[in-house]
Symmetry: C2
Subunit: 567 residues, 2 copies
Amino acid sequence: MVYEPRHMKWWGWGNEDTEFHVQNHPGFWPYAKTVLGIESDDFENRHWKLDTIQLPEPCIHERFLGKLRSSFAPTQIYNSPKERIVHAYGKGFRDLFRLRHGVAAGAPDLVVYPESERDVCLTLRAAVDCDVVIIPFGGGSNISGCLERMEAGRMCVSLDMRRMRRLLAVDQRSCTAQIEAGIFGPDLEQQLRANGVTLGHFPDSFLHSTLGGWIATRSAGMQSDKYGKIEDMVMAVRLVTPEGVLETRTVPKSSNGIDVKHLCIGSEGTLGVITQATMQIHPQPESRVVKGYLIPEFEGGVDAIYECVRQECAPSMVRLNDPAKTALSMAFRPPASFFSKIAADVFKSYLRVKGVALPRACLLLSAFEGRATEVARRVRKVESIYRRSNAVSLGAAAGKSFESTKYDFPYIRDFLLDRNVTTDVSETSTVWSNILPLYDGTMSELRSRIQESGVQPWAGCHISHTYQSGASVYFTFGFKQHPGRELDQYLHVKQAAQQSFIDHGATLSHHHAVGTEHLPWLTADISPLGIKAVATIKRGLDPANVMNPGRLQPSLDPLEDWHRLGR
Amino acid sequence: MVYEPRHMKWWGWGNEDTEFHVQNHPGFWPYAKTVLGIESDDFENRHWKLDTIQLPEPCIHERFLGKLRSSFAPTQIYNSPKERIVHAYGKGFRDLFRLRHGVAAGAPDLVVYPESERDVCLTLRAAVDCDVVIIPFGGGSNISGCLERMEAGRMCVSLDMRRMRRLLAVDQRSCTAQIEAGIFGPDLEQQLRANGVTLGHFPDSFLHSTLGGWIATRSAGMQSDKYGKIEDMVMAVRLVTPEGVLETRTVPKSSNGIDVKHLCIGSEGTLGVITQATMQIHPQPESRVVKGYLIPEFEGGVDAIYECVRQECAPSMVRLNDPAKTALSMAFRPPASFFSKIAADVFKSYLRVKGVALPRACLLLSAFEGRATEVARRVRKVESIYRRSNAVSLGAAAGKSFESTKYDFPYIRDFLLDRNVTTDVSETSTVWSNILPLYDGTMSELRSRIQESGVQPWAGCHISHTYQSGASVYFTFGFKQHPGRELDQYLHVKQAAQQSFIDHGATLSHHHAVGTEHLPWLTADISPLGIKAVATIKRGLDPANVMNPGRLQPSLDPLEDWHRLGR
């Protein structure tokens, strides 16, 4: 029996056998009710039942299935409703909304679990031979719609990579590790830790996502400020395509023409299957410190984290919440966490003395890791910069509170969905000089779009992932659903955020991929010739168009498609 | 009259109006004579005459020329022998050898100087319309054969970009600059300095190369340890292709599918013309320190620079010479430079006390730049690491000596070519654990290959451009020419170096591009499917195959082509 990580629950975030206890965040629901204008606690207590889902009749290509059956063990091939439903979508708002309403049009006809690169090659060969669609599947945590089938007519197979999870080699001296692509975050870090090293990649989805998924979507971990985005960590890659295996060499840098490694990174399953990669790793940090601060104004916070970049002392993680997101974080904190009721009252008086007005205050979380002496030095330097923006330290308690809940945020959406509230995120990156105009413009667009649907708007933002030239700007929004018009209402708001990014010269996403949700803005982002270039690579490596078809290729009216999708 | 940088002399390195004085390096020729086994000083004192060169009859497509004449000023279009010869080749060994022997088969039929992106678009449209080949030309400093025409039959135009040299915009806060691609290093840095910033890109060719050339070849500057390779600095790019303009957005990072920026970087003129880029820039460093050290053994030197990387305190530049390259550096130093005769004797006694045997000693140059306090701190930390490898400081004098001659090394080749000595370089990069095996293997291959041609071998190496996972390994070699068989002899040796890189799992080049000289090893480097991917992009963006045809596309027998090339 091959060990493999459990699937997430099909109706929400987290493993089926993992309970998320909202009572551990007692302030959250009262806060949400206030800001969203919810008056009642009276919601249908739904038990999500698999058998209420309308699964499309499976389209089975018998010769294809025969080929697979002749090479694979029975435990590698599944067509049960549950397997099909679990692989139907990622975890975007539309994904969950549809499944909860019994719609699973995106479900594959078959699920295959390869256990070796040979299995992947075999599957792709059979797929080309029989004109069967293949959608590579990692952890299924993507929230931009990278996973549902985009076309009917051809048989569609979800290729679940989680059994290809070996750490193949670690070169301690060079700090590189050769790793199979289906490995999940915790499994990978556990094996690396046994070797005294770390990849340093901790996206919010860490518990439920895979190396291959990270690479295929250009993921970013919370500590990208120190370790880089995933594209900065990939030293070499193996991509099995319908035309053969693309393989690059494990070298620090090269001048070997067009860097074909970058064709694999971000390919979102459209060219082939990433089976393994050699990654830059790092010694386990000697010391790790996470601290929280309150800064009186958002603008001052942006200046503070900017100054750290300029002075070459940026923390390994920085998260600057705007006032709305700060209030949300405060509401989300565990009971009796970073300050108890009494301490909080004392602290509030202290803030008054310091001139910090809570409604405008911003929570700034910063993590530091590395050698102990360097961490201590950097904390001192960063704090001296923060102080110039009148930051008030919340001490390590706020850091601990963040650490203990950092992977829990996605559960909020499920909790709110249960209560007929739509929430989603849109994130981008831009240069420092454009951060405040982009922030102001997008927040105002989000708020007015939500108001247009007649409900109370909630929108917040955090800045994270700092670079020499700019940072990521990450918006979260929520509102009461308009019964019967939930999808229209959602699209109306989501479109505003994405269009604002493009109008402000930013990009469609900093680390959530294109998928279906961002496809209408891809042409503006990479120019029509960029689209043509991607299409041409696709035709070259996947001439039969069996790999995740429809993605990265906007149609003539992508916005129309986007609205139509998954109703 | 448009200002433009002068062309280099066609028979060697440096501007025609710049004299290189070998008498400023009085120790050099005696050293070379000894190590190369040259007994006589009696060489033909040649005066290179343009009119001895056999220029192929120009192939002129009259309709194409007519189109250009109707849009361009007469000062933008040249067909004089001199212009054709200056644009025939780069500065590789074979390039210079051929021109000096009257061969200019690689010369274009026409030279065009665009002054705007409109001019570039116009030229490309006409080229496609008339089936005329376009070879983009920057500074002409490439030494891997990126510039000569690879085919006869079609008219061939060298598109010299040097008039597109404007700094279009500087965003001080975000540290980005939008720059036209034809600008030369010194011009760019001068304009940036006026804005208080720097690109931080100083390749050996700095004085004679352009931004567009750097990007098209994946160039590395001496201080890449701090500022990155050029591919790390490009934030956005504009590439004019026969199918239109590919344009990306100025954002720090994105998750917008396949990163099409990386199709432009390293494209070596095969997809289109890079007309401008937005680059990551940096504040001018407050402080800059360059110091020299002697380390008793090469292995200890590698360990020392490795340890700096691990301790996250790598200098902004590191250059560790092996014993042979150290001896060459000593011989090349200016008169009475870093230690005078008497001081040298004292120093030698000191080294004896320290246990440093000069024949095995290695020169280690290190530069540090940034904020003054950070530079001072880093120097201290690095020196404490170097001391553990028993390094002896040569002080700032050795650094000054390096700084004053750092752009002069390419002149050595001209001087030696005048004396019937062949010299060339081959460089690669590899992971730390592989540096010594690669070094030993390649040095031994180089020496024995040279010996096979019956002459005394000289080969040396330096390590530079350090990364978390490894470094660049840069070999220099030289030998007396076998009269009448110079090219065969050269190829015999060059092939050994390149093959050794591939056999040792390294890459064909760290920063010198593929061109014609490294093309036979491209398939091994990026895999056959990588070749196919590049070919497919080429067909998509340049279906008429007018952009620098033949490059990045190995034929069925590339080694045979390579041997045949340019005789």
